[in-house]
C-alpha cells in the first residue's frame, strides 16, 4: 500500500516545503486560534497574564505615576526636607526609605530594571541557545559533540555557584553586565530543546524536498525547522524570564550584581537588611513583588505548555 502511494508523496512534500499557500496560512491561523482557546480556558494562566500585564504597565508608567512625590526620577532623588523611614501614608503609599525617598517610586523603578534584566537576558539566552542548538543539531558530528560536552559540563555545576563566579569575573555592577552573566548561564536548556527538535525533524521528507529544490542550509533552518520547535521554545522562554528575575535579585542581594543607587528589587532587598529589625516593610515589599511576578511567569508558562502541547490531556 505504501508503494502505491509513493508517486504522490514527493509532490505533497514539495507543496508543504514551498512558500506558504493561502490555505496553509489559514490552517496555521486556525491552529493559533485553537491554542489561544486552550490557553484562555486555563484560568490560572489568564489571571497570571492579567496581573503580569498590570505590573508591566505600572513599571512603564512609573515616571508619570510618581511625578507628584518628587522630581523626574524620585527613585534616586533625595527630597529637600526628607522624612526618613516614614510609615505608609497617602503621600507615600509604601512609606519612605532611610534617605527619605519614596518607597513606592523606588519599587516601580526597581520593577523597570528587574523586568528589563529578566526579559533581555531571556532574549540573549534564547538567541545563544537557539543558534548553538541549531548548529549542533543540524551539522551533528564534532560540532554537536563539542557543544553538547560544553552543555554537559555547564549542567554539572550547580547553577548558583557558576552564577556567582561568573559575576565576580564579569560584573561591573551595570545592567548590561548582569544581563550578560545571566544569559550565558541560561542558554543550555534552550540549546538542548532546539538541538533535539533539529535532530528529529532533520530527516523528514519535506525538508529533503526543500533541499533538492536548492534552499540553502541557513534558510532551511530558519524557515522550516525553527517554527516547528516554537512550542517548547516559547514555554522555556516564559519560564526563563521568571528565573532570570530571581537570579538578578540573588546576585544583587549578595552584592555581586547591581549596586545602589541603581534600583532593582534585588538591590532594594539588599538595602533592606540594614533596617531588618526596624522597618520590615522594606524587606517584605520587594520580595513580594518578585514572588508575584515570577509566579505569573510560571503560571503563564505552564498555561502555554498545556495549550501548545497537543499530547497533554485536559486538566
Amino acid at each position: 500500500m505504501d508503494i502505491l502511494q509513493q508517486p504522490d508523496a514527493p509532490q505533497d512534500a514539495r507543496a508543504a516545503a514551498l512558500e506558504l499557500t493561502p490555505d496553509l496560512v489559514r490552517k496555521r491561523r486556525s491552529q493559533l486560534r485553537i491554542i489561544f482557546d486552550r490557553f484562555v480556558r486555563n484560568r490560572a494562566a489568564v489571571v497570571g497574564l492579567v496581573i503580569l500585564s498590570s505590573i508591566i504597565l505600572l513599571a512603564i508608567l512609573a515616571p508619570i505615576l510618581t511625578h507628584k512625590t518628587a522630581s523626574f526620577d524620585p527613585a534616586n532623588t533625595i527630597p529637600d526636607n526628607p522624612q526618613l523611614l516614614a510609615p505608609p501614608s497617602l503621600a507615600h503609599p509604601f512609606g519612605t526609605d532611610e534617605l527619605g525617598r519614596d518607597s513606592f517610586a523606588r519599587m516601580l523603578f526597581g520593577a523597570q530594571v528587574s523586568l528589563l534584566v529578566g526579559f533581555t537576558s531571556m532574549v540573549f539566552a534564547m538567541l545563544i541557545g537557539a543558534t548553538l542548538g541549531a548548529l549542533a543539531g543540524y551539522y551533528g558530528g564534532w560540532v554537536d559533540n563539542t557543544l553538547m560536552r560544553v552543555v554537559d559540563a555547564m549542567l554539572a555545576l550547580p547553577y548558583l555557584l557558576l552564577l556567582f563566579v561568573l559575576s565576580i569575573v564579569f560584573s561591573n555592577g551595570s545592567v548590561g553586565s548582569v544581563v550578560f552573566i545571566i544569559a550565558i548561564l541560561a542558554w543550555p536548556p534552550t540549546a538542548r530543546i532546539v538541538r533535539g527538535e533539529f535532530l528529529s525533524l532533520k530527516h523528514r521528507e519535506f525538508l529533503l524536498a526543500t533541499r533538492t529544490l536548492g534552499a540553502g542550509d541557513f534558510r532551511l533552518m530558519l524557515r522550516h525547522i525553527l517554527p516547528n520547535a516554537a512550542g517548547p521554545i516559547i514555554v522555556n522562554a516564559t519560564l526563563l524570564v521568571g528565573l532570570n528575575i530571581i537570579n538578578e535579585s540573588v546576585l544583587s542581594f549578595f552584592g555581586f550584581g547591581l549596586t545602589p543607587p541603581q534600583s532593582s528589587w534585588g538591590v532594594l532587598l539588599g538595602q533592606s537588611q540594614t533596617f531588618f529589625g526596624t522597618d520590615p516593610w522594606m524587606l517584605y515589599l520587594p520580595g513580594f513583588a518578585i514572588l508575584i511576578t515570577v509566579l505569573c511567569f510560571n503560571l503563564i508558562g505552564d498555561g502555554l505548555r498545556d495549550a501548545l502541547d497537543p499530547h497533554m490531556t485536559q486538566r
Binding site: P158, V169, L269, L283, G287, I290, N298
Partner: protein, 321 residues
Amino acid sequence: MRRYIIRRLLQAVLILFMLSIGLFGLIHAIPGGPERVYLAPRQTAAARQAIIHNLGLDQPLHIQYIKWLGGVLHGDLGTSFTDNQPVSSDIFSRFPATIELFLSALLFALVISIIFGVTAATRQYSLTDYTLTIISYLGISLPVFWFALILQQIFGVQMRMLPVFGQSSPDTSGFGPIERFEDYAVHLILPTIVLSILFIAGWSRYLRSSMLDTVKQDYIRTARAKGLSSRTVFFRHALRNALIPFITVVAIDFGGIASGAVITETVFAWPGIGYLFYDALNDRNYPILMAMLLIAAAFVIICNLIADVLYGVVDPRIRYS
C-alpha cells in the same frame, strides 16, 4: 552493572578534567585578584608584587594550572590564601555542618513532599489538592534568600522563638547533653526549611502527577479486581510504581543542592562549606573556589549516577550492561 558504573565514573573524570581547565582559566580571570584583598591601604607596589609572587600568581597560567593539577593528583588541593591552611583541611572542617544540614533538609523535603504528593493525588481536584497546588507554585516562584529573611524576621526578630544565626549558641559550656542537642536542633529548624522549600515544591508536584499516572494503569484495576482495599491498592501497588521515577528525580535534584546551600548557609551564618564558598568569593581565594566548584560538580555527577543505579535497583525491568 559494575561495568556500567565504572564506565560512568570514567566519563565523570573526563568531565571534571575539562571543567577544571575551564574553571581555572575563569577564576584566574577575576579582575582585581586576591592581592588587592590582602593589601593594606597605601602599600607600595613592591609589597604588592611580593604578595603576588608569594601566591605564585606571577607565573604563566598554564604553569600554574599544571602545578595545581599535579598537587590535586597527589591529594593536595592547594593552600588557602587567607589562613595558609591546606584547602582540604579548611573544607573538611566545614563538612560536618553542611552534611548535617543536607541530611536534615533531604529528610524533611522527602517526608513533606511525599505527604503532600500522596495527599494531593488521593484527593484530586479537592480543596486540599488546590491548596497544595498553590503552595507548590508559590514555592517554585519564591526567591529563596528572601524566604530565609522573612523567616528570620518573623521567627527571630518579631516572635523571638527561634535562633537565626549559626549552628549553636555562642556559649554552650553550661549545657548538659540534652540541652546541647536541643540547642543544635532549634538552630537547624529554619535553615532546614529554607534549604528544602524548593525541593518540596517540585517533588510534591512530581509525585502527585506520577501517582495520578500510575493509578490509571491496568494493573491497578487488576489489583482492585482482586478485592484489595483502596489503601492496599494505593500503597502496595500504586505508590511503589510512582516512586520509581520520583526517586531518580530526587537524586538528580539533590545533586544541585549546593546552590541552595550557599544561600542558606550565608543567610543563616551556618558554618558549612556553602558559607566558606561565599567567603572565598569575596576574598578571591582561588584555591578554595577551585576545590569547591569541582567538589560540587563531582557531587552533581555522583547524584546523577546514583539516580540511574537506584532506578535499576527499584525497577526490576532495568538491567544495565
